[in-house]
């Protein structure tokens, strides 16, 4: 994996990311002029967006404005939609990951994804977590794999609840537990970026709070991009917020600034619930 990093700019190497403001200046992922088309219909217009490392970037905006579409660009999940075409550059570690020469399979092992609805494999809890490491050959031995499963589940805050029933089917977990399992599954392949598309929309407030705590915890290690419809959630978990409207990036900035002092009228209207 390291071999693909041919010309990583020094700014993104972990050592230089000492303090907060500096971290925000050096993006983990740099999107430039992204245009996305579904057939003839354009869903995203000229979006340029830097995504900083070790922080949470929230994407907000009314339904159908292209948040999910944009998020899927970041791990090339749009490739699986036949009519979808993505233009523009997405620079990660000095490489344009939107290039045909990049293997999306390799990319997805570094950019994990958590979906709106919990979607565990209909297998055991253990198999769910171990599947990624196994296909990527990350574990040398069975003990190694066990360790990885435990670590991932611990990081996802699920270990205590499931450690006695790792062989139980994943579908027997509650919705919130399943979503944390999906997060653990994403973590298990040791990604650098985690994309979350409305990860709490199917959960109750308690489960949501747990996931939010978890996101806050994960922020220390990963670059996280989250799509959410809840303004409170965006305000609680994110450091940066981008507001989309009709496929256009209307405004982006520090979360505090967006929520307290938006520059754009449309942003303010949306945040205060006047449309959307």
């Amino acid at each position: 994996m390291e071999s693909t990093v041919t010309s990583a700019p020094p700014a993104t190497s972990p050592g230089t990311q000492a303090n907060e403001p500096e971290r925000l200046t050096f993006p983990r992922i740099e999107c430039r002029d992204i245009n996305v088309f579904y057939g003839d219909k354009q869903a995203i217009f000229d979006i340029s967006l830097p995504i900083p490392d070790r922080s949470v970037t929230a994407l907000i905006g009314p339904s159908g404005c292209g948040k999910s579409t944009f998020l899927r660009c970041l791990n090339r999940m749009n490739d699986t939609i036949e009519s979808c075409r993505v233009e523009g550059q997405i620079i990660m570690d000095g490489e344009n990951i939107n290039d045909a020469a990049i293997d999306p399979v390799l990319l997805r092992s570094r950019v994990g994804m958590v979906f709106q609805k919990p979607n565990p494999f209909p297998k055991s809890i253990y198999d769910n977590i171990s599947y990624g490491p196994r296909i990527h050959g990350l574990a040398a031995s069975r003990e190694d794999l066990d360790g990885m499963v435990e670590k991932s589940l611990r990081r996802a805050g699920l270990w205590e609840e499931v450690k006695d029933r790792l062989t139980a089917p994943a579908n027997s977990l509650s919705g919130g537990q399943q979503q944390r399992l999906c997060i653990a599954r994403a973590i298990a392949v040791q990604p650098e970026v985690i994309l979350m598309d409305e990860p709490c929309s199917a959960l109750d407030p308690v489960a949501t709070a747990r996931i939010e705590e978890l996101i806050d915890e994960l922020r220390k290690r990963y670059c996280i991009v989250i799509v959410t419809h809840s303004m409170q959630q965006a305000a609680r978990v994110s450091q940066r917020t981008a507001f989309f409207h009709l496929g256009i990036l209307v405004e982006m900035g520090e979360t505090d600034q967006i929520f307290t002092n938006p520059r754009e009228r449309r942003t303010e209207d949306y945040i205060t619930g006047r449309f959307g």
């Binding site: 699986t80 036949e82 997805r108 092992s109 570094r110 958590v114 609805k117 494999f121 296909i135 298990a188």
Partner: protein, 526 residues
């Protein structure tokens, strides 16, 4: 009522609407129930009629013959090879016939009676015995009991299927007087009252035709045919046994509905059969030879083994070809193929192919596999290939439906952790679709198992007397056997055909059972 019509939900109009809706509901339920009732009735009628027929073929009558394996008869040359012995049907049969003649010495002198007596057993029925002796020459000269099936028409008679028959118990016969030849006059006060009134009643129904019907009078191993009857006396022609047996006996009279000239069995043969039965030499046993024998021109010797093996071999070839190709085709179409014109056309054509009459596949098979490739006729290999073509669309359609039913979120989840398309399909989608795919495959195979027309066209209708040992041997299949047996004229084939239908149904039931089991066991929720 006034109270009811007052509220916003309970006024007259709303109630009227509600009544109408409820009536519609009820009507619809009734339609549904009657549709299901009709279907069930038709199905149970079918199963019942076939089952009842088959049941009569589930057992048959065998006769025991105690014979001495006289080497001079079965190995006349003195140093016959086992092969020669095993094919010496005439020798073994003459042993049996001699045994019958010993049992019924009256038949010995008369050519016609002698031939009729010989018909009690089919010549070829001695074949198993011949083979047994050939395999074990030490049996030579010993006394053994040959058990062989009774002639099929007599078997039907004993099962009551050959002719309508009324059987009555008569009163005590007091005297037996010999008249001319084998004619005797039996008498007893009111002894023949029952049969006399039966004949009168019958005459009332069928007129003078009753005079052509036979009335047999039996006691023990003795049977005579009544030529004249009054309340107190009867004149009989003795068919077999000893007329004095009637003295002091209460005989049984059988009024056989179909005249002798229109039957395949004579009164004489019936008399002998009744006598053998009385001697305890006839027993009704499970008709296992139906499963262990191959086809024969004699119903009592025929079995479905060759057809069962032929069907299994054919199914094997079909499964071997259609299932993998079907799965790969459907996986490709469903998971990998781009959605464009070409795939659309392929899709439409596959759906159309599923509706093509099977006989067309037979013609195609005959032209391509037999004509062009020159594969052997009547072979399970060709049958399997044709049936594979036939089932392929079914399997593809079912497999695609199964693949479609796997939620896209599973694919997204696999891709999301960095699995390749192949991995997501083979690790997650296929296992989840597996039960559905196999359901489709088995249902397709079940359809193929019952197909007759294409097999007829590639010559799998041949009379096959040997169990095929491989897919290129001459063979036939169960549905074809049903077809050819059902076209045979003899009455005895009817229940035999039904029995083979039941065997075929058993196969289908087992296959469907597997489907149900798979569904139960692997049904998943996601």
């Amino acid at each position: 009522m006034t109270n009811l019509s007052a509220g916003p939900f309970r006024n007259e109009k709303a109630l009227a609407r509600l009544r109408k809706r409820r009536a519609a509901d009820t009507r619809f339920r009734l339609y549904g129930l009657s549709a299901i009732g009709f279907a069930l009735a038709a199905l149970s009628l079918l199963v019942f009629s076939i089952g009842a027929q088959a049941l009569s073929a589930a057992t048959y009558h065998v006769v025991k013959y105690d014979v001495v394996l006289d080497a001079a008869v079965i190995a006349p040359k003195g140093k016959d090879t086992p092969d020669q012995i095993s094919r010496n049907v005439d020798g073994f049969y003459s042993l049996v016939r001699e045994n019958l003649k010993d049992t019924f010495p009256d038949a010995r002198d008369d050519r016609r009676s002698s031939r009729e007596l010989g018909e009690l057993m089919t010549r070829l029925a001695v074949l198993p015995t011949a083979r047994k002796v050939a395999d074990n020459p030490t049996l030579m000269g010993q006394k053994i009991t040959i058990t062989a099936p009774l002639n099929d028409d007599l078997d039907l008679y004993l099962k009551g299927a050959a002719s309508p028959q009324k059987k009555v118990k008569l009163g005590k016969v007091v005297s037996v007087e010999a008249e001319t030849g084998r004619t005797y006059r039996l008498a007893g006060p009111a002894a023949f009252k029952v049969i006399e009134s039966l004949v009168s009643a019958e005459r009332f129904e069928v007129g003078d035709a009753v005079d052509r019907q036979s009335i047999l009078l039996t006691t023990g191993a003795t049977t005579g045919k009544i030529s004249d009857v009054t309340t107190d006396s009867a004149v009989i022609d003795l068919l077999t046994g000893n007329a004095d047996d009637f003295k002091g006996a209460t005989p049984v009279a059988r009024l056989i509905g179909i005249p002798q000239s229109e039957r395949n069995v004579t009164d004489q043969q019936i008399a002998w059969t009744l006598a053998l039965k009385d001697m305890g030499r006839i027993s009704r046993v499970p008709h296992l030879s139906l499963l262990t024998h191959t086809d024969s021109t004699y119903p009592e010797l025929a079995g479905a083994l060759a057809a069962i093996v032929g069907s299994l071999l054919t199914m094997f070839v079909t499964a071997f070809i259609a299932v993998p190709i079907g799965i790969f085709a459907s996986v490709y179409l469903e998971e990998f193929a781009p959605r464009n014109r070409v795939t659309e056309i392929i899709e439409v054509n596959i759906n159309n192919l599923a509706a093509v009459p099977s006989i067309v596949f037979g013609l195609l098979g005959a032209a391509v596999f037999l004509g062009f490739f020159g594969l052997p006729r009547s072979a399970p290999l060709v049958g399997g290939l044709v049936l594979a073509l036939l089932t392929l669309p079914t399997i593809i359609i079912a497999s695609r439906a199964a693949l479609k039913s796997v939620p896209p979120s599973i694919r997204a989840a696999a891709l999301g952790v960095g699995a390749s398309k192949m991995q997501s399909v083979f690790h997650h989608v296929l296992p989840l679709a597996g039960p559905g795919i196999f359901t489709g495959a088995i249902l397709g195979m079940a359809r193929a198992l019952g197909e007759t027309a294409p097999l007829l066209l590639i010559g799998m209708v041949a009379f096959v007397a040997d169990v095929p040992s491989g897919p290129t041997d001459e063979a036939t299949a169960l549905p074809v056997l049903i077809y050819s047996w059902s076209t045979n004229a003899e009455r005895a084939w009817e229940p035999m055909t039904a029995a083979v239908i039941v065997i075929l149904l058993m196969f289908l039931i087992v296959m469907n059972g597997i489907v149900v089991l798979l569904r139960r066991r692997f049904e998943r929720r996601w």
